[in-house]
Amino acid sequence: MTAPGDRSAAPARKDDSQLRQKRMMAEHYGRLARSPRTGEKNVYTFVPGNLTELVRSFDLLPVLPEINALQSAMRGKSREYISTAEKLGHSEDVCTYVKCDVGMLKSGNVGPTGEPLPNPDLLLLSYTGCFTFMKWFEILRQEYDCPVVMLHVPYQGDGEITDAMRRYVVGQLRDVVIPALEKLSGKRYDEDRLRGMLALSAQAEDDLVWVLKSAAHRPSPIDAYFGGVYYIGPMFTAFRGTPEAADYYRALRREVQERIDQGRGPVTPDGEMSAERFRVVVEGPPNWTHFREFWKMFADEGAVVVASTYTKVGGVFDFGFRHDPSRPLETLAEYCMGCYTNLHLPGRVEMLCRYLEDYSADGLLVNSIKSCNSFSAGQLRILREVERRTGRPAGFIESDLVDPRYFSAANIKNRLESYFQMLAHRRGAA
């Protein structure tokens, strides 16, 4: 189903932003590796509902176990780590991020740069949009014997944030989380400093949203899924609220503007996409063990992902939310409650329908993840509802986050090719 002319012809070349983010991430991991010597303290927490500005306002370093797990998968380590955890009694049925993390811990806790990660000084259990998070940090607490602080973020069961929900989260931030961070860091909560960081976040958010929305152009200058998780999104979580993040997104915006001006498509594993044949929206996380191969299955078909939901687990900003420095704790609460996996299913359906419309997409693709019930439970109903409302076809593939045993390349490629073939036929028939 691949037409030769559709293949990317240009040699693979990384954009400045990709190189820059790699440098920044390496520096961050290096700093973490040095922290036992430098005395810098760290806080392990999760991507959805992360309180990066608050954590950094105490000069504490965030560590994100999900990111460590996916990095382990990309380095080909996750199979061994998962196996280690399963031998220790962790069920084959549960989240592979958890098992990968436990296996990594049991194997020396070596991070993506090859250096050991420090043990957590505090586990900040931001319980947002995923039940597994709670059990994950209960497990880690037993492994590391370190303090844990819980921030329970209520779910948007009715698709709204009520005053009661906001009050509940703010109450926990004020009376539970901040005192724990003060105790760990030995510093007093400095609201003015936090406000300054939130202002920087809002600035970066403006540029991030601009970059995400650039995908509405034809051809799209970005891939909002593979590129989204590779160099557009990750910076956001670990560095939000810092001048480096604001600078990064300003530079990324300029770079994307340049692509638009020159009519260039997005970067792919084989270089720049020369001809955009299909525009799709993707729901669900990617597979990390075969990330490049998975991306190539799209790129080889000339398929660009113009919007994705997975890139919104760290926050939904493209419908107007910005961190508001004038209401620091309230805005953090609203940020947490607004993360994608904290939205109810009708809200997820509405978002997908809007993406299909706003980005002139040909259809929806769902990558259903075996070990992520937060995303996967209900996805088949979402798929049918989006098809019904938009009339655009949806496809369904299955894989896993970091367990290579659940990535069947031939099967997925076959399904993708059939899906793209169907899109082409529909277009021809129209």
Partner: protein, 392 residues
């Protein structure tokens, strides 16, 4: 006379427990013209619904009673069974007598089922009930009270009576009485397990999900009195075990029978947990809604669905083993159950530290092949009995 009464109670319980199309609820609605609202495992404050004239109806999937035709098109193979059988019941009309459904916050699957329900049944009340994981009365308690007030308003908007503190106090009293009877049942099984086979206890508790609390209390009184008098029930040489992990998707009755036949006396469990989620009486003095909130915060059982703030996962199971005089633990969780299976390694660690023998297996609510489990549980029971004999 008592044998006849016992047979009558058990036949009634079995009929109700197998009543997936909710005939008892339909009859109740015809009689009372009240609202009936379903709830998923594991806990909702039934007292509040009851006080507003609503019949709380426990919906725990279709078990092995129904064939899944459409439900499998809603859920991937790697998701537990209860949502697919529940949606099957919704789609085939079995639940059409319910005016709404409440989905308590216990895991992502039940949480997302609340959204599926909203999409599928837009005219019905579909209520996600968030429960706090912060147990400070001023923070989590305040939030939970807000949730309950909001739930109460939702019920009223659907035609239930308005919130009435006096009515709530009276409902709490009724459920307190029921909780005491359930505890009596568990105490009798613990002390004389041959008198209360778990198959019967389980059937009674499941039956109690679809009838008003007063009716379950009556059945429990009748049952307790009948088995006390039943001299034909004699002790057997069985291993005493605690069954853990079956708090949401319920095991098929055949599995419980298999465990008992394999040589196990189940002397404590977390089956149909709504009946025992709150330990002891809910207070009657003071503001009744605050009392419900306080009971959730301070009197709830330790559950894998609740944050273990003290970091002592498994401690409660060890205590249950000690209290019930059990000799081992059966970890018996549904396949793909995140709360049970993520918690299990920590609970296992607690068992090993305490020197308590354990074994683990999984089930699905519609499973029908128990030979492997029978062999596993039988071997486990035998090994316990052998160790017991060897010890002084």
């Amino acid at each position: 006379m008592s044998a006849e009464r016992l047979r009558g109670v058990l036949e009634q319980a079995e009929r109700l427990a197998r009543d997936t199309s909710l005939q008892a609820v339909r009859s109740w609605k015809e009689r009372t013209a009240g609202l009936a609202v379903g709830f998923m495992p594991i806990y909702v404050p039934r007292e509040l619904l009851h006080s507003q004239g609503v019949l709380p109806v426990g919906v725990i999937g279709g078990g092995d009673e129904i064939e899944i035709i459409r439900g499998d098109a809603y859920y991937q193979s790697y998701i537990c069974h209860i949502p697919r059988s529940t949606i099957e019941l919704g789609l085939d009309g079995s639940l059409d007598c319910l005016d709404g459904m409440i989905f308590p916050a216990i895991c992502d699957v039940i949480r997302n089922l609340s959204g599926v329900w909203k999409l599928e049944f837009p005219d019905k009340l579909s209520r996600y009930l968030d429960v706090p994981q912060n147990f400070d009365p001023a923070i989590g308690g305040r939030f939970y009270r807000d949730e309950l007030e909001s739930l109460s308003r939702d019920l009223t908007a659907r035609g239930a009576g308005p919130y009435d503190p006096r009515a709530l106090r009276s409902s709490i009293e009724i459920y307190n009485a029921q909780r005491r009877l359930v505890e009596d049942l568990y105490a009798l099984r613990r002390d004389e397990p041959w008198k209360v086979p778990t198959t019967e206890l389980y059937t009674l508790l499941r039956a109690g999900l679809v009838v008003p609390p007063e009716e379950l209390s009556e059945m429990l009184r009748d049952y307790l009195s009948a088995v006390h008098e039943d001299a034909a029930r004699k002790p057997m040489d069985q291993a005493r075990v605690v069954l853990i992990g079956s708090f949401c998707e319920q095991p098929p009755l055949g599995l419980i029978k298999t465990l008992e036949r394999s040589g196990c006396y189940i002397v404590d469990d977390d089956l149909v947990q709504v009946h025992r989620f709150v330990r002891g009486d809910v207070a009657l003095e003071g503001d009744p809604l605050d009392n419900l909130v306080g009971a959730f915060l301070a009197q709830a059982v330790d559950s894998p669905t609740r944050y273990a703030a003290a970091g002592d996962n498994g401690r409660a199971t060890v205590e249950r083993v000690r209290r019930s005089g059990a000799e081992g633990v059966l970890f018996c969780a549904p396949s793909f159950c995140d709360p049970a299976l993520l918690d299990q390694p920590m609970a296992v660690r607690a068992m090993e530290r305490a020197g308590i023998p354990w074994t683990a297996f999984k089930y699905s609510e519609n499973g029908g092949q128990f030979q492997v489990i029978r062999e596993q549980a039988g071997t486990f029971a035998d090994s316990i009995k052998l160790w017991s004999e060897a010890s002084p």
